[in-house]
Amino acid sequence: MTSTRSMWTQIALLGVIITVCVFPFYWMVTTSLKTQIVALEAPPVWLFEPTLDNYREALFEDGVLRTLINSLVVAVSTTLLALILGVPAAFALARFEFRGKKDLWFWFITNRMVSPIVLALPFFLIARNLGMLDKHITLILIYLTFNLPIVIWIVTDQFRGIPYDLDEAARLEGASQFTIMRKICLPLAMPGVAVSAIFSFIFSWNELMFGLILTRTEAKTAPAMAVSFMEGYNLPYGKIMATSTLIVIPVLIFALIASKQLVRGLTMGAVK
C-alpha cells in the first residue's frame, strides 16, 4: 500500500509537472488580455482589467484573420492531397508484394528527417523562376514533403492490421483491388486515416520557415504574421500574444483529441 506521505509527494510532483506545462499558456492568454501599458509594467502585474482590444485589433485591423484563413486553406488542402496520394500508396505497401518496396519505404521515411532548410533553398529559387512565390499552392505542395510520409506510415500500419481474409472473400466475388480498398479496408482503417489527417494538419499549421520564405502578403500564414510583429522597437506584446493564442488553440484541441496516438505518430511507430 502506498503510504500517505508518498502519496502527497506524488501529488506534489504531479502538480509541479502540470504547472510547468500549463503556465506558459496561462501567461500567453493573460498577456493577450493586457493593454500595451499594462503589458509593459515592470515587474509584470498578475491582476488587471482584461480587454479584448488586442484580438479585435489583430484580427480586423492588422489582417491576422486573413493569415489564419490562409493557414487554414493551406493546412486543409495539403492534408487532403496527402490523403488522396497517400492512402492508395499505403494500401499497396500493406497488401502488394513488389520489387523495390523496401527502398521505397526507406525513401518515404527519410523525408521525415530532412531539415526543411535543405528544401527551402531550391524551392525558393524554383518558385521565384516560375512566378509561384506568395501562392497557396506552393506551400500546399511543399508541405507534402512531411505530410505524405506521415500519412503513408500511419495508414500502412492501419491497413496491415486488417485481416486479409476480408480481401480474399471480396476478390472471390470479383471485386477489383480498388473496390476492396474503398469498400472494405478503408472504412476499417478510418481511425488511422483520421489520426494521420490530424498530424498532417498540425504539422502544416505549425510550420513557419517555408511560410516565411515563400510568402509575402497574399498567402502569408499566421505564424509568419505573428513573427512579423516582432519588428521595430516598441513591440506590441499583447497583440503578439493574442495572435499566438489564436494560432495555438486549434492545434491544442486537435492534439488533445489525438493525444493517445501522439507519441506513436511522432516516433513514426517505433513506440507502440
Partner: protein, 288 residues
C-alpha cells in the same frame, strides 16, 4: 496468391504518391546540387557561373560552418540528457498506481507543449524572458538577468524551451515502454527486491530501450532541423551564440544571398541526415 497483382495495378496505387513526392522532394534537391556547383548570389544574378566543387571546399574548411555544427550538437548534448532524466522521472511517477484523475490530467497537460507551434514558443520566450517586464525574472525574485542579449544566457534559454517542449515527448515514450512490462513480471520482481533501482535496471529497462533509441535519433534529427523557435526568439544571436546549423544555412542563403554556398551547406547537412536515417531504419524497420 497473396499480394500478387499486376504491375499496372501496383503503379496505379503507388505511382501518384511516388511521382508527387519526387516532384516536391527530389527535384528540388537536384536543383540544390546544381546551385551548389555554381557561384549563385541573389544580388548578382547576372554572373551565375559554374565553379565546380569550390563551394563545398569553402564549406568544409569554413570554421563558422563547423562551429554551427558543433553548437547544434552541444545543444543536443545538454538538452537531451535533461529531457531523458526528467522524462524518466515523470514516466515513473505516472506509472505508479492510484490517483487516476490527476494523472490523466497530467498526461493531457504533457501533450500541450509538444503540439505548440514552434514559432509561438519563441514568441512566448520573448515575452516571458524579457529583462524588464518578463515573468521569469520576477519569479526568480526580481532578478535582473539579461536573457536575450547575453550569449550564454540566450543559449540557456534555448535549452530551457527545448527541454520544456520535448521532455513531455520523452516522458510519454518512456511511459509507453513501462506499460509494456507484463504486470506479473513487475510484481514478481517487486516481491524479490525492495530496490526500485534494481527493478528499473533489470526489469523495466529492456522494455524502455526501443523508445530510448527512437528518442535519441529523433531528437538528433529535430535538433538538426531546429529553426522556427530559435529564429523567433534570438535569430541566432546575440552574435552567433545561438546560430544552429539550419539557422546558419538560412542566414547564408537568404540574408547573405549566397545561394550557391548555402546549397553546398544544405547538401552536406543532407548527407549527415541520410546517414542518421539509415541507422534509424536499420534499427526499427526490419520487418518491412
Amino acid at each position: 496468391m497473396r499480394g500478387q497483382v499486376s504491375r499496372k495495378t501496383i503503379f496505379a496505387f503507388i505511382g501518384p504518391a511516388v511521382i508527387g513526392l519526387a516532384l516536391v522532394g527530389i527535384a528540388p534537391l537536384l536543383y540544390a546540387v546544381w546551385t551548389s556547383l555554381h557561384f549563385y548570389n541573389l544580388t548578382k544574378l547576372k554572373r551565375v557561373e559554374f565553379i565546380g566543387l569550390e563551394n563545398y571546399w569553402t564549406v568544409l574548411t569554413d570554421e563558422v560552418f563547423w562551429q554551427a555544427m558543433g553548437r547544434t550538437f552541444f545543444l543536443l548534448g545538454t538538452a537531451l540528457p535533461l529531457q531523458l532524466a526528467l522524462g524518466l522521472i515523470i514516466a515513473l511517477v505516472l506509472h505508479q498506481p492510484g490517483l487516476t484523475l490527476i494523472k490523466t490530467l497530467c498526461r493531457l497537460s504533457l501533450v500541450l507543449p509538444m503540439a505548440t507551434t514552434y514559432a509561438v514558443v519563441g514568441l512566448l520566450g520573448q515575452v516571458m524572458f524579457n529583462q524588464k517586464f518578463g515573468v521569469v525574472n520576477q519569479l526568480l525574485g526580481g532578478a535582473d538577468i539579461n536573457w536575450i542579449g547575453d550569449p550564454e544566457n540566450a543559449f540557456a534559454m534555448i535549452i530551457f524551451w527545448d527541454v520544456w517542449q520535448w521532455t513531455p515527448f520523452v516522458a510519454l515514450v518512456l511511459l509507453a515502454g513501462l506499460t509494456m512490462v507484463p504486470g506479473e513480471v513487475e510484481e514478481a520482481a517487486r516481491l524479490e527486491t525492495k530496490s526500485k533501482w534494481t527493478v528499473l535496471r533489470y526489469v523495466q529497462l529492456p522494455f524502455l530501450l526501443p523508445g530510448l533509441v527512437a528518442v535519441l535519433i529523433l531528437r538528433t534529427a529535430d535538433t538538426l532541423k531546429l529553426f522556427d523557435m530559435v529564429f523567433t526568439l534570438t535569430r541566432g544571436g546575440p552574435g552567433s551564440s545561438t546560430e544552429f546549423i539550419s539557422l546558419m544555412i538560412q542566414r547564408v542563403g537568404f540574408r547573405g544571398f549566397d545561394q550557391g554556398l548555402a546549397s553546398a551547406q544544405a547538401i552536406i547537412l543532407l548527407i549527415i541526415t541520410i546517414i542518421l536515417a539509415q541507422i534509424y531504419i536499420r534499427v526499427f524497420y526490419k520487418e518491412v
